[in-house]
């Protein structure tokens, strides 16, 4: 288990009901963590539609999570 910080924006922030939180997780990768949070909070966006960032940099879904990381899941952007 490691302690990390998660920040939420836009629809994820609304569905979670808060902007950030500290959590303890056994998830190894960003993708694993998203699935854990999705099932816990009922996020509507499937993992394939969300990008991940760790410590303010985009990362692959397979990126490893480390103790103390700040992780953000990025919903699809406005586009047009």
């Amino acid at each position: 288990m490691k302690t990390i910080r998660v920040q939420y924006f836009a629809i994820l922030r609304e569905q979670r009901g808060l902007s950030e939180e500290s959590i303890s997780t056994g998830a190894a990768t960003a993708a694993d963590l998203y699935e854990e949070l999705r099932s816990r909070h009922g996020f509507s966006l499937p993992g394939a539609r969300v990008r991940a960032a760790i410590n303010d940099d985009f990362v692959a879904a397979s990126a490893k999570i480390s103790e103390g990381d700040t992780i953000v899941f990025i919903p699809p952007v406005a586009g047009g």
Binding site: A10, I11, R13, L45, A53, F58, V77
Partner: protein
């Protein structure tokens, strides 16, 4: 420089920053809040940004534009917060020796910014609940 601003954007002041005696052309893009979206009447909207990453990605876009097109200076700002119809949501300006570089770089920057920056838009409509654009909702 690419910045995210919760304050209104002053396009005229940004344009003055680009002044340079070597520049013969300056192209600007302004994105305005318009009154319809996909045919639905819009009343207002909110922009929310993941600012640190948006500014980093914005700088990457400016660097890519510089590698592709000849220009002297570029500046971009994206607004966040509650905006009303007609408000300036995003401003991009590019000064170049010749106009081709200014047009090409300005268009590249706004196209990439719209596609890549972690900035989200929630529209408020005349009818029905507000929606985050492009994000799946529980209903669809």
């Amino acid at each position: 420089m690419f910045t995210i601003s919760s304050e209104p954007i002053d396009g005229a002041a940004l344009l003055r920053e680009l002044g340079d005696r070597r520049a013969g052309a300056c192209v600007t893009f302004e994105g305005w809040v318009r009154s319809t979206s996909s045919g639905r009447p819009v009343l207002a909207l909110d922009y929310e940004a993941y600012a640190p990453l948006a500014e980093k990605e914005g700088l990457r876009i400016l660097a890519e534009a510089r590698a592709r097109y000849p220009f002297i200076a570029a500046r971009a700002v994206h607004r966040t917060g509650a905006l009303k119809l007609g408000d300036l949501a995003v401003w991009v300006g590019v000064a170049a020796e010749h106009r081709a570089g200014a047009f090409d770089a300005c268009r590249y920057i706004i196209d990439e910014a719209k596609a890549r920056l972690p900035i989200w838009k929630r529209e408020h409509y005349e009818e029905g609940p507000a929606e985050w654009i492009n994000a799946a909702t529980p209903k669809n």
